[in-house]
Symmetry: C2
Subunit: 280 residues, 2 copies
């Protein structure tokens, strides 16, 4: 069981930032990642449809044999975690929202926290509920930052344009908070620009990084860790091509684009042949 | 028959720029618009799936009674026009690619033409084929400009950020062409910024506008025009709220977002209640 891979799914390539953090923090583990690129985006779909898609993604990963499931998709984490846990009684399931909310509450002194994400994540309010569930007197302000998604996918992650976009989204949002949650798996690619605009006084919570930390803790607690000495979760370093041997990549459509855009998200050059197309 | 509406469909709100041009140019006509928002984007899906979705959209519009069908979606225009014509023998079908390509060939002196669109439109090469089919010695250069889509949906259509993005996409693309085709229904919203970056020496072909002109010509030719004297197609003016009485709007999901973002595309304030949600 401990030798089985960790399963990770997302609606597309965004979750590869979570996989990158997992890979960096858990050097003894292997991974199988599924991007449901044929049916993205999940955010515009109904909760019932999202739950059904999430079950199908999880089911395909379980067929391959996994010991733990990471839902690296904010929309599916917000909508389908309970349903997935009910459907997968033998397998621990972790989303990205809970670890991000926990880290935000831990990081914030004032309890005034900003969350940025896609339109559907912000409108759905999952981070707000999760933060208030841990600190009832917190004040959470949210803002949808869809241009950040487009910038990350385009690979425009520093310089004049991303900085101007970050200012437009963040300048007035951040006047009265001490913590900013990157509530979208695309946003870690813009961490540098966002941090520069936010300034040094703000704590930035990267939900990819906090999810990797939560997975490490869960593996220890459940005794599911793969062999080797326990290792601290480190900041994601640049993966080497050898790391790809530890990672199996599945997508439901478009492996050329998955490889091209995904290379930036995973931080290693992917060839299209490294991506297996599966039908759900 | 002549009193029936013109049917228009798109994968989302983008086609509302085509509807806006149609409405302005054809003041005696009525329209029924379907945005397949539940299943967007089409561009990442297989040709078979796109053709199936297009048949379903067209079928729903035909059920409502239409005299002519406009495919206001570049992806479906490129992939599914022939299939739709075969399935709808009694109804003229027009896409956005052919009118845009015709107008580009008419506008270009040098035969050197640039096309901008979404990644899937540019990769698919439909504009290039349509232009070369009309002028075999043309040189067509294409560039995907996905940030333009995000900017249009966000309503950031002038000022520093859109101008910087337009420069980044266009400066080197436009050095040796005399015509630029806006090959995405989102791009007319950025016409001012694009024209300013392109400079006065370039002809800009707006495929929404050219599609409206082609529809007017087709209505005359087929005798399908609604009552009243023939009217020249004019540049889209700002529609009045009364114009909404001539327009019926359907969407497959998310009428709040459809109304909010669609207001900018159609150029008139839409309330969510004006949007009927249909299931395909």
């Amino acid at each position: 069981m401990n030798g089985l891979p960790i399963g990770v799914f997302d609606s597309g390539v965004g979750g590869l930032t979570v996989l990158r953090a997992l890979r960096a923090g858990l050097p003894d583990e292997t991974f199988v990642y599924l991007g449901d690129t044929a049916r993205l985006p999940y955010g515009t779909k109904s909760p019932e449809t999202i739950a059904r898609y999430a079950r199908q993604c999880a089911g395909r990963l379980v067929e391959r044999g996994i010991k733990l499931l990471v839902v690296a998709c904010n929309t599916a984490s917000a909508v389908a975690i309970d349903d997935l846990r009910a459907h997968l009684p033998g397998i621990p399931v972790l989303g990205v929202v809970e670890p991000g909310a926990m880290a935000a509450v831990a990081a914030s002194t004032s309890g005034r926290i900003a969350v940025i994400g896609t339109e559907s994540t912000i409108r759905g309010g999952a981070y707000t509920r999760a933060i208030l569930g841990r600190r009832a007197d917190a004040t959470v302000v949210g803002r949808a930052c869809p241009l950040f998604v487009a910038l990350a996918e385009e690979g425009w992650t520093d310089g004049e344009i991303p900085t101007a976009v970050a200012r437009a989204y963040l300048d007035d949002l951040l006047t009265d908070v001490d913590t900013l949650v990157l509530g979208c798996t695309h946003f870690p690619l813009l961490h540098g620009v966002i941090a520069a605009v936010a300034g040094p006084r703000l704590a930035i919570v990267d939900s990819a990084q906090t999810t990797a930390t939560a997975v490490a803790t869960l593996l220890e607690r459940t005794g599911l860790r793969a062999g080797g000495a326990p290792s601290a979760v480190t900041v994601a370093a640049t993966p080497t091509p050898e790391d790809l041997a530890r990672i199996r990549l599945l997508a439901t459509d478009g492996r050329d684009r998955f490889a091209r855009v995904g290379s930036r998200f995973l931080g290693v050059d992917l060839r299209p042949e490294a991506v297996e197309v599966v039908d759900l």
